[in-house]
Symmetry: C2
Subunit: 195 residues, 2 copies
Amino acid sequence: MLQPLLDYCNSICKMPEQLINDLLNYAKIKEYKKDEFILKQGFVSNYTSWIIKGAVRSYYIKDDEEITTKFLQEGSPITSIYSYYSRRPGNENIIALEDVTIACFHYDQMQKMYKDYPAFNIIGRIVTEKYLYFLEIELYNLRKTKAEERYRYFVKHYPQLLQRAPLKHIATYLGMNLETLSRIRARRYSPLTQN
Amino acid sequence: MLQPLLDYCNSICKMPEQLINDLLNYAKIKEYKKDEFILKQGFVSNYTSWIIKGAVRSYYIKDDEEITTKFLQEGSPITSIYSYYSRRPGNENIIALEDVTIACFHYDQMQKMYKDYPAFNIIGRIVTEKYLYFLEIELYNLRKTKAEERYRYFVKHYPQLLQRAPLKHIATYLGMNLETLSRIRARRYSPLTQN
DNA sequence: TTCATCATTTGACTTTTGTCAAGAATAACA
DNA sequence: TGTTATTCTTGACAAAAGTCAAATGATGAA
């Protein structure tokens, strides 16, 4: 079950046997049903996880509304960046979009592996760099002024998520409201605005 | 001149003498006059730098307009994340907002230090993690729907930048146009909307 | 100083997006 | 199967933000 994770790590930096053993021993497999919380606001995020199967959504509450900040699917790392790194309770919620299976690694065990294995620091650094690049693109897209452009980018790059997530969450993720998103989608198929 | 950088790195992870020597030897001090380019779009970013003095602005061109994506000041690392990590030309420009002095580290020498010193991987990982957190906050703020809220956050957290950067750049950074920003600023001092 | 340039503000108007309310469509379930 | 939620769509209108044009202010060079 963890083979894809091992392959991924090894592709970044060949891991010594001992590190692979630690990784396998430390990994705690958890399953969540659709709509179960993986992390609730007000709690410290003690795990960095890896999505084996399924998709999750991360959001915070603003003025009684859920603002979705991330959708993550198979093969992605998940954690609350603020809470995990600062070791404090945050305002982020992570919830299963559908039934999910994840492999969790506890903060202390992650630190231990960083301490014990130079290779793991390289992997940690590079995974973090990739995530950084991902966030840069997100920022780039959010600064696009037109709601329609943001939606088109989403359709092009995350078509699977259109099936996996309800529109109301996609809307707040894209920084618009549900009705606006619905109208943009209606517009899309009109012969005059197609492109 | 590099003492603050050394102090900062050491505060993350005590560096061995040899690493400190390498850092000092590899550092190339460069100075740029206001409005000089530190990185131009279409080129590969070969350096990760550290701002010793001054402030810089990073932007890309969209529909003939400069969209500012970042302001960075003394003590910040700078590079084009996409270009530096992918080793490809990107569309990011980095330009001096005022006269700046930076310490540059070449990609190859960075890799060499990562290879030679476990401590440097830890530092690299943690600096990257901090940056990650910084981008998360940026994302959080850009998703705030109201232009005025975004401006208020900016005023509160980066008051110095109001002095250092012209409003037209702050406007695109905040995802609004210049006139809107100007009106928000006018609004601010009216007794009815103050808070 | 004076001129030229750039930065900022303001006005009039348009477009985009949000809000509220009501229906239609779809999925979930007893 | 019908019933109930939930999700999605649509309409009418309001608010926010963008556009274009012009005026004012500030700055810097000759």
